[in-house]
Each structure stands twice: as structure tokens, then as C-alpha cells.
């Protein structure tokens, strides 16, 4: 029934990046809250905000830059919880290219994810005053596909990686960490919030929906904390839920371990300071900022306040 059904749209395929939700599902945490939760896997052509707008899901996971951009586009999404405290996004470069600092990016080729995931990179570069249109003083940007081949093939000098996934893919390909140099957004001071839970603003006027979300966030956070504590079990739960049968255990355990580091600092409630840093980064986008004005009402503590007490 309406009051207890929740559909969650992920932003990528089934993997330990979303372990908390699968654990909550598998361990019956949702059930214990009386919820009937459907987790929709994502993929390369799924824009979670659009799914939300179309009514295909009640809640979505999204990176905050993308969510705020959607908000400016006229799709009022609101952050109701933020299980990820820390950003896992980084650039990974070959050390033998001689890159040691951001300044050295000039004249290089860098792989970037697009599809709404390019905002952090673009903000960073514009803060550094580096053009993204190529040339001697700018970087040449490649739209990176779904693998790390551009780096391995040396088509790109650097590519975007997540600490928990693509970086591991590079290592799995036989590369030693010493061959690489990484630039974490977190360390560069341009970190933006990742993997928050968002809903449509209108829905928050509906007490039934709010109640549903309160229970959902509570159970999800329970799932996350369980996953952090039991990475191997969590990874296996993710594997059970992976219908492609192509994931392997070692990679998921590693991913879960890395993800645990990112979620560890969060109890689910959005840290307003993090939010403000994210907004500031995005607004600082120079001539072409990701968002043009300070958003309003883009987050609420209402759900987490109720959920965590």
C-alpha cells in the first residue's frame, strides 16, 4: 500500500557503493519499519532526477552538484539525508608524466565523467583558472566511458576515479600505486557532497510521505552502519543482489571497505557546513558557474531529525 511503499533510484549499477540500502533490505531493517522497499539499479543512461520527476521513484541518490543544478532547472529536489560524509572523487594520473601538482595539468588530457557528474571538475578547474578547452594553457577534456582504459592505454594522462571503485580497477590491471599520483577533491578543497538522498519538494507537504521517509532513512542508516561494521557480509549481500553475475567478491569487499571510510563520519543528517562548502564551490565556477545563485530550501533536516531521535 501507498503508505509503506518506497522506490529508491540508484545512480549506478548494483555495487557496494550502495551497500547500506541492500543491507537494510536484506537484513529486514526496512521490513521492521513496515516498509516495502524497491531498489532500482541505475546505469549509464539513467538520470535519477528525471526518474524522480517522472514519478518512477520516491527517492533518489544523487551527487549534490547535479541535484542543485536540477533544482535550478526547475525540478525542486530536496536533500533529506546525507549518508556520505566525505567525497570519494579524485583524479588519478601517471606519475611518469611528470604531473605533481594542479599547475601541471596544463596541456594534458584528462578523462572526466559527464552526465551531470562533470560539475565538480569544472568548478575546480575554473577556481584554478585553467581552461577546459584544450590548448597549451588549458586541459583537454575527454568524456570518459565506463572503464579505466583511457589511462591504461595512455590516451589520457589523468582520469576520474572513485577511491572505492575505478582506482581499484587501475590497481587490478596490475598497476602499482607508486606508478600513480592522485588528486582527491577532498584534499584540494573542492569536495562536493556525493550520494545524498533526495525527494521532490512537493511530497514533503504530505505527512504520510514524510513519515514513510523518516522510517526509510532510519532503516537505511541502520543498514549503512551495519555495512561499515561488517564489510565482508555487506559485500556478499551486494553480490547476492547483483543480477549480472559479473561482480567479484574481492572487488566488492575492497569497495565496501573504502566506502566505509566515506560514510563513517555521517549519521545521516546533512552537515550544513559541508552543504555550504559545496554551494560555494559550485558558485565559484567563474564565467560558467554550475549554479548561478544561492539555492533555497534545497535541504531539510526534518526527516533526519525525526528519524534519528
Amino acid at each position: 500500500d501507498e503508505a509503506n511503499e518506497v522506490t529508491l533510484q540508484l545512480q549506478w549499477v548494483t555495487q557496494a557503493q550502495f551497500a547500506g540500502y541492500y543491507v537494510a533490505l536484506d537484513k529486514g531493517f526496512y521490513e521492521a519499519e513496515g516498509l516495502d522497499v524497491t531498489v532500482l539499479a541505475g546505469g549509464p543512461d539513467i538520470a535519477p532526477p528525471q526518474v524522480l520527476a517522472g514519478g518512477g521513484a520516491d527517492a533518489m541518490l544523487n551527487w549534490m552538484p547535479s541535484a542543485l543544478a536540477a533544482r535550478e532547472k526547475g525540478l525542486p529536489v530536496v536533500n533529506i539525508a546525507q549518508p556520505y560524509k566525505t567525497s570519494g572523487l579524485m583524479l588519478t594520473c601517471w606519475k611518469d608524466t611528470g604531473i605533481t601538482s594542479v599547475e601541471d595539468f596544463k596541456g594534458r588530457t584528462i578523462g572526466v565523467w559527464f552526465f551531470g557528474n562533470e560539475y565538480p571538475f569544472l568548478s575546480w578547474m575554473s577556481q584554478e583558472g585553467i581552461s577546459t578547452d584544450g590548448g597549451e594553457d588549458g586541459v583537454t577534456v575527454l568524456k570518459q566511458g565506463f572503464n579505466v582504459d583511457p589511462l591504461l592505454n595512455r590516451e589520457a594522462d589523468c582520469i576520474s576515479t572513485m577511491t572505492y571503485n575505478e582506482y581499484g580497477q587501475v590497481l587490478d590491471a596490475g598497476v602499482n600505486p607508486e606508478e600513480l599520483i592522485t588528486f582527491k577533491y577532498e584534499e584540494q578543497g573542492v569536495a562536493t557532497l556525493e550520494d545524498g538522498i533526495y525527494v521532490l519538494e512537493d511530497n514533503l507537504d504530505d505527512p504520510v510521505f514524510v513519515d514513510k521517509m523518516v522510517r526509510f532513512v532510519r532503516a537505511s542508516m541502520e543498514g549503512w552502519k551495519y555495512a561499515e561494521a561488517n564489510p565482508e557480509e555487506a559485500a556478499n549481500i551486494v553480490l547476492d543482489n547483483d543480477e549480472t553475475g559479473a561482480q567479484n567478491e574481492a572487488a566488492q569487499v575492497r569497495m565496501m571497505t573504502e566506502v566505509g571510510k566515506l560514510t563513517a563520519g555521517s549519521n545521516g543528517a546533512l552537515d550544513v557546513a559541508d552543504y555550504e562548502r559545496t554551494v560555494a564551490t559550485l558558485l565559484a565556477g567563474g564565467s560558467d558557474p554550475v549554479i548561478s545563485m544561492e539555492p533555497e530550501g534545497a535541504w531539510t533536516h526534518a526527516i533526519t531529525d525525526a528519524a534519528l531521535n
Binding site: 549509464p44 539513467i46 528525471q50 526518474v51 611518469d96 547483483d242 553475475g245
Partner: protein, 306 residues
């Protein structure tokens, strides 16, 4: 049957070419790895090796060539690697297992067949409309052509969201994409087929004062049978491609398309290659099935004389 030997010959030639290509294609990666494993590699830095072509590097490092055939993360896997992966995932697994390509094949096949059914029915209906109505002929046909110039992978996510917002999920959205790709060859073929009766065959029915529907069932439809089968064979493989394309924006959960994507993302090229070949084999089998049905039907209709 007469084709077996020629096909085998061509396949052998392609395999040979393939095998020859493996060392140059993989040599850079293999050399990088060999160096990490403390083997002798010339030249001895990756950056220096970038200056050489794959073939040039292979000639300089002949001792590494065998490694190119067994490399775990090849740019071009060797044929036996693909065959091995296919064996493991087709024969070596229970067909209900998520690791079985048979299971994924079925996940892809079901929407393919449904989509093909929808696309074919729609295509035939449109063709009938176009043949019997001047207005439809003149107004719909150009747009049917335009529809095929629209990149489906761009439309697919939107179609899926719109259907999703109507609460339709699972098999059906993929079938719609499959249908979108398969209706066109059917329309084109059936319009040709339904128009294939010559003036004399049509006039014969006029002398009987036959009705339009009698003309359809007794003349136009049977006359279009050969065209229909030709279209069906194109349509079914288009439908399969449509489903695989649609597997990405529907949440790449299972099916050949999901295997290709996930294999690619997690650095398992063999998973992708096996899924790719399995998909092509499935298409070949479906086309073969229709060829058999075609032969039987046309024979019973007395049209397979020569």
C-alpha cells in the same frame, strides 16, 4: 549444408587474422605488466614504449608474445580466451545461475520476442494502412524514415522514464525499444510485398467483384509472404539489438547488454566479449529459425520451387 565448408573456411581465415592481431594489440599492456614482473623489456620505460607501434614492440620483445595470448585484461582477447569464457558461462553453469549466459540470454530474449511481436504487428498494420490509404501512404511513410534517423539510445531513457511514470517497468519498456527498431524493416518489406501483385492478378479479382478484404486475404497477403519473411529476418535481429541497447537505461541489471557494460566497467573484457558473441549467436539462431519457417511455409505455399 553446402555452405558448411565455405563458412568454415572463411571463419578459419578470420581466426587466423585474429590470432595474428593479438600480439600487437596487447603488447603495450603486456610489456608494462612484464616489467612489473621483473622481466626484460625493451625499451624499458612505458613512455618510451609509447613511441613504438604494437607490432614493432612485439618484434623487439618476441619472448613476450606468448603472454599476449593469455593476458587477463587484454585489449583484444585471443579466440581461445573468448571460447573458454563462453564455455564456462554457457555450458559450465546451471542455466538458472546469474553467471550463466543462458540465463542472461533468456533475460534478453523475452523482451526481444515481445518487442518483435509488437513491432511486427505494428509494421504490418502500418503497411496495410499505407497500401490501402493514399493519405497514410503520402504522410506516414516519410516520417517512418525520419523515425529511423533518430538515435534510439538517446530516446530510450526518455521512453523508459515516461513508461516508468505510468508504472510500467520490467519487460515492457525494453520491448518498446525493440519494437521501435523492428517495425521499420517490416513496414518497408510489407509495403513492397502487399504491392507486389501485378495488375493482372488484381484485375482478376475485380472481374469476380471481390471485396477489399477478400482481395487482401486471397491475393495481397499470400503474395507478400516472401517479402514478409525477408523483413522478419531483419526485424528480429534489429529487435535483439534494440533490447540490448535498452538494457542500459532500464538499469543495467541482467541480460547481454548488462553483461557487456559491467564486464567493461569492472575490467573483465572477456565477460563483454562473451556476451557480445553470445548475442550475435542468438541473433544468428533466430534468423536461422525464421529461415527454416520460411522454407517450410513457402514450400507449402508452392513458392519455393527454385
Amino acid at each position: 549444408m553446402k555452405s558448411i565448408l565455405p563458412v568454415l573456411t572463411v571463419i578459419s581465415a578470420i581466426l587466423l587474422f585474429w590470432v595474428v592481431c593479438v600480439p600487437p594489440m596487447n603488447m603495450h599492456l603486456v610489456a608494462d605488466q612484464a616489467q612489473r614482473d621483473d622481466l626484460v623489456v625493451t625499451p624499458d620505460t612505458p613512455a618510451a614504449r609509447q613511441e613504438f607501434s604494437g607490432a614493432g614492440l612485439a618484434l623487439r620483445n618476441a619472448h613476450l608474445i606468448p603472454l599476449t595470448y593469455t593476458f587477463v585484461r587484454p585489449r583484444l582477447p585471443s579466440p581461445h580466451q573468448v571460447a573458454g569464457e563462453m564455455y564456462r558461462t554457457i555450458i559450465g553453469q546451471k542455466i538458472t545461475s546469474k553467471r550463466s549466459l543462458v540465463y542472461h540470454g533468456w533475460v534478453t530474449l523475452a523482451p526481444t520476442l515481445l518487442g518483435f511481436l509488437i513491432g511486427t504487428s505494428l509494421g504490418i498494420l502500418l503497411a496495410v494502412g499505407i497500401v490501402y490509404s493514399r493519405v497514410m501512404d503520402k504522410s506516414v511513410m516519410p516520417w517512418a524514415i525520419v523515425s529511423q534517423t533518430i538515435p534510439i539510445l538517446a530516446l530510450a531513457p526518455m521512453i523508459i522514464v515516461v513508461l516508468g511514470s505510468m508504472g510500467i517497468q520490467g519487460l515492457f519498456p525494453k520491448s518498446i525499444i525493440a519494437a521501435y527498431l523492428s517495425f521499420f524493416p517490416v513496414v518497408v518489406g510489407m509495403v513492397k510485398g502487399l504491392r507486389s501483385p501485378d495488375a493482372m492478378q488484381l484485375d482478376l479479382l475485380r472481374t469476380y467483384n471481390a471485396s477489399k478484404s477478400q482481395g487482401f486475404w486471397a491475393l495481397r497477403l499470400p503474395a507478400s509472404a516472401p517479402y514478409l519473411f525477408a523483413s522478419l529476418k531483419i526485424g528480429i535481429s534489429a529487435s535483439l539489438v534494440g533490447t540490448i541497447v535498452a538494457e542500459l537505461p532500464t538499469g543495467a541489471k541482467a541480460g547481454f547488454g548488462a553483461r557487456m557494460l559491467v564486464g567493461d566497467q569492472y575490467g573483465q573484457p572477456l565477460v563483454s566479449w562473451a556476451a557480445l558473441f553470445a548475442a550475435a549467436l542468438t541473433a544468428a539462431a533466430l534468423v536461422g529459425l525464421f529461415s527454416v519457417i520460411e522454407r517450410i511455409t513457402l514450400k507449402r505455399m508452392g513458392m519455393a520451387a527454385t
